[in-house]
């Protein structure tokens, strides 16, 4: 955040406290993602889906759900980064996604902490 804002300079845009050359502040079209990337990501998603189903057919004990969730997280990540352009978005957008994820994980982890310490796997 720049603190050397010259109030006498003509203002071409507003609400700014950053160096106009800083790239990762705006979400406006600085970057058009190429269709090639979409094709690669789309194909990867389909392959990963097949992988998930394949892995499910093997008996891997507690590792089955771990692998399934890991692959799901991988798929979600590439959708967020490439299809939803977060890789090319402002720091604010990345922070926002992170905040949402963090809050969801808080809900999950802290609620489970209650169940884990009194009623885990038994009823």
């Amino acid at each position: 955040m720049s603190t050397h804002h010259d109030p006498h300079q003509p203002q071409t845009h507003t609400g700014h406290d950053h160096d106009p050359n800083e790239q990762d502040v705006h979400d406006t079209l600085n970057h058009i993602v190429s269709p090639v990337i979409y094709i690669v990501v789309g194909a990867a998603l389909l392959v990963l889906t097949g992988l998930t189903v394949l892995a499910a057919t093997f008996e891997l004990g507690p590792w089955n759900p771990v692998i399934a969730l890991f692959i799901a997280c991988l798929k979600a990540t590439i959708v967020v980064l490439f299809f939803m352009h977060v890789k090319y978005s402002s720091k604010l957008t990345k922070l926002t996604v992170g905040a949402g994820l963090f809050t969801f994980l808080t809900l999950l982890a802290m609620t489970l902490s209650d169940y884990a310490s009194r009623a885990w796997g038994r009823w």
Binding site: I71, A119, R122
Partner: protein, 254 residues
Amino acid sequence: MTVHGGTSDQPVVHGAHAEHEHPPYQRHHFESMEQQVDATSFAMWLFLLTEIMFFGGLFTAYLIFRNWYYPAFVAGSHQLSILWGTLNTGVLITSSFTMAMGVWCAEVRRKGGLVLCLVLTFVLGIVFLGIKTIEYSEKIEKHHVPGFHYSLKSFTDPQSDPEVYKDYRDKALAPDMARHTEVYFSLYFAMTGMHALHMIIGIAILGFMIYKAQAGAYTTGHITFVENFGLYWHSVDIIWIFLFPLLYLISRHS
């Protein structure tokens, strides 16, 4: 500071669009298109955060009950068709691809391409819902809908359900564990139902967008609506990416 508010009762009137040049689709309370695009995009992301937290509650409930009633969840999951589930996942992923391509077409101002992509996304969405309807009607036939003559027969007597039995040879569940399959199906219907509702809303908006796209509304440089809708569509896809393994792939080794 240069503010001329004062107590004058002669306000400065902005003459039509003579004093400031801005595109017709820029709203007057924004100082620039850049600000408008930034603001509406950020607003869409914040709305998606509410969706994460909304579904988050359901995922939390799911994890607790799966931990408590694992055998019931296994038996319930075996009742779902991996074929339909995988197919639907493929359909949704493809629709995400076509949606992303649609955004690209809008960015490079290809009206024909945009309309095609939106139509494909629309069709794939309908296909998804069609497959879901098939799955739901199977569940209705077998009386696996909680609250509507829910039947425990497939779980207390697996051999009475030859389709599923031949693949998994499940042991019969004790009556109380068999009753817990109703919790599994409650979560199944709540989560996929809520997801399907979001799909329906998305498809409706797609219909509206196809009409506007055909009229050239999104290929003159003002693409925020398409872009922001794309964000919504991808997040609905992401929710399904998690629903699929969690609901369909519980102990599916034969």
